[in-house]
């Protein structure tokens, strides 16, 4: 491309031309026009004529700022122009730099010299321009190199310049915390400035710094307090209030001191923004001071009653902050809050929703939920789901703490899933299953609700509640003993419209059908015509082969007796009114007797046929989950069907023999399903102790060599369970047929071999024993509804004892909680390094302020300077925390102050030379200072001087 010619300059389009051109563009043509203009600019910007160059840069800046055109390639022309003697060109160049430069722009360093020159210009506007630029583009290098000049400007006689220098320095501190040591004292002096601009800039700076790390600025409280009393400028007052909001929680005496002036401002001011800031400060930081809080709440009420949506929104927000400690405040304004649920503004609605949830207690929960559901029904989808979401999260908080009547809550969950806009299927699913596992007494109602959901074919068409249906299906299968009509349940699980479900959920349906079928057939077989003998038979079978199962059975009456106490409240429930006592799976006899009337041979045959007809086609499904499960069921039906069928017309002896085998087998199946699933702690996996000799962080580079030996990739965690289960012979029965059992044993032997060879990658065998003692082994066949990962975790502890104990003690149904504070996550937040450095430096400077210039300090300082041994910055942290925890302990704080002073002095002189050092050296120095400070603590005798804060406070 040709270079810029005279013609180019002569006919150069101005910015106005460019803007007009863009405006004239037809829709869609804009991009092309801009691209063309950028091409022009590329040529023009190379011009030697500074006017042409400036105009080109101006146009490019415009395009960059408003049309997102990249201009990183034009950084150098901007630097070139910044040294122009024409003020407008310089302005333009620096504006362009501050709008487009980023931390990675490499030509920034070329600006250093120009900025330094401008800083010393006699024209305050040049200085101001340079300061503005510095504040928006400064990097570490720039900050470090220009700190000395900034230090001079902070003392400028022109307030205009001083103000800008103070405002610009925040960025410099962020980039180069060492600058704090140099400049901080001068900035503090300006807190007493009489010039509003300077004061405002200084307070603004401190506000920013305090928000990041309040504690370091406590010593400045007297200065801020003075401003709080004297200033009449609302902007400044707001900033000072923000500072106090951070400081007050750290120092109770300070809070006591400021509460009255703040209330005074609140009473007197006509400015809404200042009043709002006062309210905010009181509710966030002074909530212990009852009269102040009352005053603030009165003001909030005023806001709420005004017809301004802004005030209403902020009032509700403030109320939400108060609500944590003073819930009466919300109750007092209940009416406005509830009405706001219907506001035109969704933001206000959300705030009021949050407040409504804050009002929830055991007593009013049902009422509030009723109101909320009615709002949800008439709201637009988005807010409707917000409401549902908050109901779900509030009710489930802390293991359903607020819920007394679980039957009510479970039916509410059912109701919620039927709300047309409901998209909270996932949460409802989780809660339904969770409640099923945790709260025994509510299972009857759960099954009832699940039935309602399952038999409604319309729900299958709504993808949002497929998850709820999945939970419903799982519950009906898992707690099938509570179902009153097995045939109806089976029909709903197998209805043709289930083909609308995604295959994982369909698999849950099929699995549930399996459980229902097992339950039905087993109940039938174990009762037969004569209730007494099949159970003998089963006992016989059990004794022969399955010791452990038989133990479960014999122990059943005990648990049943335990349960009957807990069951009392439920028997009064209307849906259980027919006197059919629901029973847990283990308790065979009572369950059988109650089912006896329903389960005739015909009805069982109907059940079996229904399953067979409906699942037949699915055995050829392409989805493996569906196919496999369908095949399992069909396989089982193939075995049991002739036996049920023949039980009528065969001879007595054959019949007994067949039934013996059939019911024996069914018993095994049934037992496999009747193990109860319990909740699992989120930290369960972590609590499995890491066996000795297992090195988790070691490189797994040799894993391939190991895998070469073994053809079958077996997920070790799952296999572990399997092998262990087989050893104990408890879970064999979950395999419906022998054919399926074989491969499993094969894999087990493979696994055993693998374990033998690579034992170190396995958990130690002690762990296995522990697992088998404490927890029911996971039953793979019944866990589809639950995440696989969760299933793994299930191996770990489940505190059954705890649950039983509570069963009798509490009037409210027992909610099983694991004993380890399940769900508690501790997040350790690391402090930001930069801020830490700033505040570290600030502390040193500030705490050094008051030190007397005793000569002994200097001597010690010199000695310590040489001591560059590195220490962790912890020393710093621990020391400040002692200061914090003992406000009265003046001497310790004072020691800090004096030692800080030394360091400040020691560094300030050499500062400029040391700037050139690398980071690590710098940080070394900081650490060394901490170290020396500690030393100073030990050696100095400082009891004589009185510290700043106590002075002010007493």
């Amino acid at each position: 491309m040709a270079g810029p010619s005279l013609m180019d300059s002569f006919f150069q389009r101005s910015l106005d031309d460019l803007i007009k051109g863009i405006r004239l563009c037809l829709p869609g043509g804009e991009a092309a026009f801009i691209a063309k203009s950028v091409d022009e600019i590329r040529r023009e910007i190379k011009s030697t004529d500074s006017q042409t160059k400036a105009t080109a840069l101006q146009k490019l800046t415009y395009l960059h700022s408003l049309h997102w055109v990249d201009m990183s390639w034009a950084a150098f022309p901007a630097v070139e122009l910044s040294s122009s003697s024409v003020h407008s060109h310089k302005r333009l160049a620096l504006l362009s730099a501050s709008l487009s430069f980023n931390p990675t722009t490499d030509v920034i360093l070329l600006l250093t010299h120009q900025l330094r020159k401008d800083f010393s210009s006699s024209n305050p506007h040049d200085v101001s321009l340079a300061l503005s630029t510095l504040s928006s583009i400064s990097t570490l290098d720039l900050s470090r190199d220009l700190t000395p000049e900034l230090f001079i400007l902070l003392n400028s006689s022109k307030n205009f310049v001083k103000k800008k220098a103070i405002a610009a320095i925040l960025r410099v501190f962020e980039q180069y915390p060492e600058a704090v040591r140099v400049c901080f004292k001068r900035i503090v002096e300006n807190l007493e400035s009489s010039d509003m601009g300077v004061l405002s800039a200084a307070v603004g700076l401190f506000c920013e710094l305090t928000v990041r790390e309040p504690r370091s600025y406590l010593p400045l409280a007297p200065e801020f307090y003075k401003i709080l009393l004297d200033s009449r400028n609302n902007w400044v007052l707001i900033k000072v209030l923000k500072i106090f909001a951070k400081l007050a929680p750290l120092e109770p005496r300070l809070a006591k001191r400021i509460v009255e002036p703040i209330c005074e401002h609140l009473r007197r001011t006509g400015s809404k923004s200042l009043a709002f800031e006062c309210v905010n400060t009181i509710v966030t930081s002074l909530s212990e001071h009852e009269p102040a809080v009352k005053l603030a709440i009165m003001k909030i009420q005023e806001f709420l009653l005004e017809n301004d949506p802004n005030l209403k929104y902020l009032g509700l927000q403030a109320l939400a902050v108060v609500a944590a400690k003073h819930s009466w405040a919300v109750l007092e304004n209940k009416e406005v809050v509830i009405k706001s649920l219907d506001d035109v503004d969704v933001n206000i609605k959300l705030e009021s929703l949050q407040l409504v949830m804050a009002m929830v207690s055991e007593d009013n929960l049902a009422e509030i939920c009723k109101v909320l559901i009615s709002y949800a029904l008439k709201s637009e989808p988005e807010f409707c789901n917000e409401i549902l979401g908050s109901i779900l999260s509030t009710c489930s908080r802390n293991f359903y703490e607020v819920i007394v009547d679980f039957d009510w809550y479970v039916s509410l969950l059912g109701e919620m899933s039927r709300i047309p806009h409901c998209q909270k299927g996932d949460d409802i699913e989780t809660q339904l299953i969770d409640i099923g596992m945790r709260v025994k007494d509510v299972r009857l109602e759960l099954v009832h609700v699940a039935r309602g959901l399952l038999i409604d074919p319309a729900l299958l068409g709504n993808p949002f509640i497929h998850n709820v249906l999945s939970a419903a299906a799982w519950l009906s299968g898992e707690y099938v003993e509570f179902s009153r009509n097995l045939l109806e349940l089976m029909e709903s699980l197998l209805q043709p419209r289930t083909c609308l479900l995604p295959s994982p959920i369909r698999a849950v349906y099929i699995q549930s059908a399996f459980k229902v079928l097992t339950f039905g057939v087993y109940s039938f077989l174990s009762t037969g015509d004569d209730a007494s003998y099949p159970s003998e038979l089963t006992d016989f079978v059990l004794k022969e082969d399955f010791q452990e199962s038989s133990e479960t059975v014999t122990s059943a009456p005990i648990s049943g007796a335990d349960l009957s106490n807990g069951l009392n409240p439920r028997s009064s429930h209307p849906s259980a009114g027919n006197g059919e006592d629901p029973v847990i799976a283990h308790e065979q006899t009572s369950s059988a007797s109650s089912k006896k009337q329903q389960l005739t041979q015909k009805s069982v045959m109907d059940l079996v046929n229904l399953v067979e007809v409906n699942l037949g086609p699915l055995a050829g499904s392409h989805e493996v989950e569906i196919q496999e499960r369908a095949s399992n069921i069909l396989g089982m039906i193939g075995m049991i069907k002739p036996r049920i069928h023949s039980s009528m017309d065969e001879s007595e002896g054959d019949r007994i023999k067949r039934e013996l085998r059939a019911s024996g087998m069914m018993k095994l199946m049934f037992d496999a399903f009747s193990e109860e699933l319990g909740p699992v702690s989120v930290s369960a996996q972590e609590r499995v102790p890491i066996p000795e000799g297992l090195v988790l962080k070691e490189s797994l580079s040799d894993i391939e060599a190991i895998c070469d030996h073994i053809k079958l990739p077996i997920s070790s965690s799952f296999s572990l369970v399997r092998s262990h289960s087989l050893n104990n012979a408890t879970t064999i029965h979950e395999h419906p047929s022998k054919e399926e059992y074989e491969p499993s044993s094969e894999s087990t032997s493979l696994l055993a071999e693998h374990r033998k060879r690579h034992g170190i990658y396995y958990l130690s065998s002690e762990n296995k024993v522990m697992i088998s003692d404490d927890y029911p082994p996971a039953l793979e066949l019944k866990d589809q509804a639950i995440d696989e990962a969760e299933d793994l975790v299930k191996l770990t502890k489940q505190s059954l004892d705890l649950r039983k104990k509570r069963n009798q003690a509490k009037p409210r149904p027992v909610v099983v909680k694991l004993d380890d504070g399940e769900g508690a996550h501790i997040v350790v937040k690391k402090p930001q390094l930069k801020d830490d450095l700033i505040s570290g430096a600030v502390r040193e400077v500030l705490l050094g302020n008051e030190a007397a210039s005793s000569s002994s300090n200097k001597a010690i300082k010199k000695r310590e300077k040489n001591e560059l041994n590195i220490d962790r910055p912890e020393s710093n942290i621990t020391m400040t925390s002692t200061v914090a925890s003992e406000p009265g302990n003046a001497s310790s704080r004072h020691k800090l102050r004096i030692s800080g002073k030394e360091k400040k002095r020691s560094s300030s002189g050499k500062e400029k030379k040391e700037h050139d050092h690398k980071h690590n050296q710098k940080s070394d120095r900081i650490h060394a200072k901490h170290k020396s400070r500690q030393r100073a603590d030990g050696t100095l005798n400082v009891a004589a001087q009185s510290p700043v804060i106590p002075d002010f406070l007493l």
């Binding site: 910015l15 106005d16 803007i19 101006q58 415009y62 960059h64 700022s65 408003l66 997102w68 990249d70 003020h87 407008s88 302005r91 333009l92 504006l95 709008l99 980023n102 931390p103 506007h125 101001s128 300061l131 503005s132 504040s135 928006s136 103000k163 800008k164 405002a167 610009a168 925040l170 960025r171 509003m196 601009g197 405002s200 800039a201 603004g204 700076l205 506000c207 920013e208 928000v211 609302n234 902007w235 707001i238 923000k242 809404k272 923004s273 709002f276 800031e277 905010n280 949506p309 802004n310 209403k312 929104y313 902020l314 035109v344 503004d345 969704v346 933001n347 206000i348």
Partner: protein, 143 residues
């Protein structure tokens, strides 16, 4: 850092001024502006002037055909920012005389200079209209 960005956007959603006080890439800016504009312009007069977006609070106000949107962090006082917007508009009004969208379009630099006087590092440093405008008036005189 108080104010994180200031946008002026017309009714059609076109950005007329964009000043950021933290570094965002062009793509991030473009996405952010798009999202905010969509959110705020959809709101009506009866709704409040505050919108939460990502980790910003957006305080906005409409003057004639122009929306002034200020993104602030969570510590900031919303009402004070509304007053700041009003002050900005009054200042521009005083300078341009009945300021309109075109004034800002064609004098974008000046608008930036005014902001430069009012805000540094995201902190409001000057609230006196006379003080804000005096450097610009000097500049006008010089040229």
């Amino acid at each position: 850092m108080g104010i994180r960005f200031i946008l002026m956007v017309n009714k059609q959603g076109q950005t007329r001024l964009a000043q950021y006080y933290e570094y965002l890439t062009l793509e991030e800016r473009r996405a952010l502006e798009g999202e905010i504009v969509r959110k705020c312009l959809a709101r009506n007069e009866q709704q409040c002037s505050f919108v939460e977006h990502r980790n910003y609070k957006i305080v906005y106000r409409r003057y004639a055909s122009l929306f002034f949107l200020v993104g602030v962090d969570n510590e900031e006082n919303e009402l004070a920012i509304l007053e700041f917007i009003h002050l900005l508009v009054e200042t521009m009004d005083r300078h341009f005389g009945n300021v309109c969208e075109l004034d800002i379009m064609f004098h974008l630099e000046k608008a930036h200079f005014m902001l430069e006087e009012m805000v540094m590092n995201g902190c409001i440093v000057e609230t006196s209209k006379a003080n804000i405008l005096s450097p610009i008036q000097l500049m006008d005189k010089a040229s």
